[in-house]
Amino acid sequence: MIVNENMVVLSHERIAENIYELVLQGNLVDEIKAPGQFVHVKVGTGIDPLLRRPISIASHDPEQHTMTLIYRAEGKGTRLLTLVDRSERVDVLGPLGNGFSVEGQRKTALLIGGGIGVPPLYGLSRKLVENGWAVKHILGFQNESVSFYEDKFGELGLTYVATVDGSLGSEGFVTDVISEEKPDFDVFYSCGPTPMLKALERQLEGKRGFISLEERMGCGIGACFACVCHKQDDPEGSSYVKVCSDGPVFPVGAVLL
């Protein structure tokens, strides 16, 4: 069930350049069904900014009723969000959308994340390991100063890092890592900028995989038709999917990127 709750801030830290980790506590956490779901956050109480901001659930702890959001302070809303202090409250709507499906069979998964697409993969990786999967990670960042969580991913499985300027890990993109390392896997999971997802779709053609998409949103629950995408099997037609409610996670090949 989707709930709207003023969640308590347990901690709020800057973990990289313009990257913040926000830990929230509340009953909303009990409703989280799968890694990859997101929440819609209202920053401030007034009309400035007016709209909610969609942010992925990076990970959550059912016992403590806590969830972690990791976001980049970019525009008006997220910059304002950084000012929220411990023990203050944040207006959150969620959990929203459908997350990554993590079936029980013990297999090997390759998780590929780019920039602020990395956060939801952490919760996913933990869940997969919990379910007995072997996990490998490829994390792409602009440069070292904006990178985060490499160590945490490292604890869960083999982790490659690529940065555009080579300041951390290998120089280049996640796709370069794949071509070089040729990691073998059964299923891949990816979240990041659309160009990266497109490149992966080509590079990993034929492989089973799931990708998480980003779109500008209004309602976040499927009512306003702001976040609609064409399906690959009907690129021109009127059939569609809504990123907010049908996604943000889709099987690779389902959606026209």
Partner: protein, 313 residues
């Protein structure tokens, strides 16, 4: 709540609060949050003859105190609405106002003819004012003569009362209102969105794929209030007001201006419970103001007396 019950052409409203077209889909999503039967009515998403995908994305952008949208009338088409959406909605005890859109007169007429026959559609909202469709649209919403003729044609085929939704993007809103009144409209809904645009700092290009979009939200409320104030004094039709409503206080301001009911759009995205909240906040607020019935407030800004709805029912 007796103090909120209102009778308008085709509409027996428990209360004068309803979600605005396009901001509530066909109700399914918001039914997760509260019982849709609590609403005064529901204005469903614009319906066109054929199913439409709408515009490419991005379709929304935020602005100061408002937002831009260019959805492009995406909808499952007349058949889809008749076969799936309206039957689903019939489980709720709430009148449906069907928002009718098209590119040319024939489309409008056909959609109106069919959809007005649905058992739970008790009124039509003629959308002559969508700023986001390339063809047609604009002329219908800005040229009085054209609006009048379309109203007449649609009125002929409609089995339920007809409300015409006015666009604020005109030099003279009163002329438009009088034209559709002459065309036989049973009521007005206003306002639709103001045509606006936002450009991306980095690229310099429009944020919306459609380039321009419709401005909605708190930012446009003063324009809507002004237009309803002007129109309600010049035409003898009930007005369902909308534009930036977020609270019970906003609702009262719309009634003062001359509205007989109101719709909430953008605010649903910020607070999915907003319509329910407003409905609950109204009775105590009316008591504070010392009025027995909300309709007594209609037109108070220009000195209109008592229930504005009588004459129009």
């Amino acid at each position: 709540m007796k103090s909120l019950q209102i009778e308008l052409p085709g509409l027996s409203l428990k209360n004068p609060v309803m979600p605005a077209s396009g901001c509530f889909g066909f109700g399914r999503e918001y039914s997760q949050f509260y019982d849709l039967s609590e609403l005064g009515a529901i204005m469903i998403k614009a319906t066109t003859e054929e199913a439409r995908f709408g515009n490419p994305t991005p379709r929304v952008a935020e602005t100061n105190g408002g937002m831009l949208n260019a959805i492009g009338l995406q909808n499952p088409g007349l058949t889809g609405v008749m076969e799936n959406e309206l039957p689903w909605l019939s489980q709720f005890d709430v009148p449906i106002i069907a928002n009718v859109a098209g590119s040319q007169v024939e489309d409008y007429v056909e959609v109106a003819r069919v959809i007005s026959s649905a058992e739970n559609v008790t009124a039509l909202e003629l959308n002559i004012s969508c700023p986001n469709v390339k063809t047609g649209g604009i002329a219908f919403g800005t040229i009085p003569e054209v609006a009048k003729e379309l109203t007449e044609k649609v009125k002929e085929v409609s089995q339920v009362p007809l409300y015409v939704k006015l666009s604020p993007n005109v030099s003279n809103i009163v002329d438009m209102a009088k034209a559709v009144e002459a065309g036989g409209a049973d009521g007005l809904t206003m306002i639709n969105t103001l045509l606006g645009m936002r450009l991306d700092m980095k690229t310099g290009k429009p944020v919306l794929a459609n380039k321009t979009g419709g401005l909605s939200g708190p930012a446009i409320k003063p324009v809507a209030i002004r237009m309803i104030y002007e129109v309600s004094q010049q035409v003898d039709l009930p007005i369902i007001g909308m534009g930036g409503i977020q609270s019970a206080e906003d609702v009262i301001e719309y009634f003062y201006a001359g509205a007989s009911a109101i719709a909430v759009g953008t605010a649903n995205f910020v607070d999915p419970f907003v319509c329910q909240r407003i409905i609950n906040e109204l009775p105590p607020l009316l008591e504070e103001l010392g009025v027995e019935h909300i309709s007594q407030l209609t037109g108070r800004s220009w000195g209109k007396h008592e229930s504005s709805t009588v004459h129009s029912t």
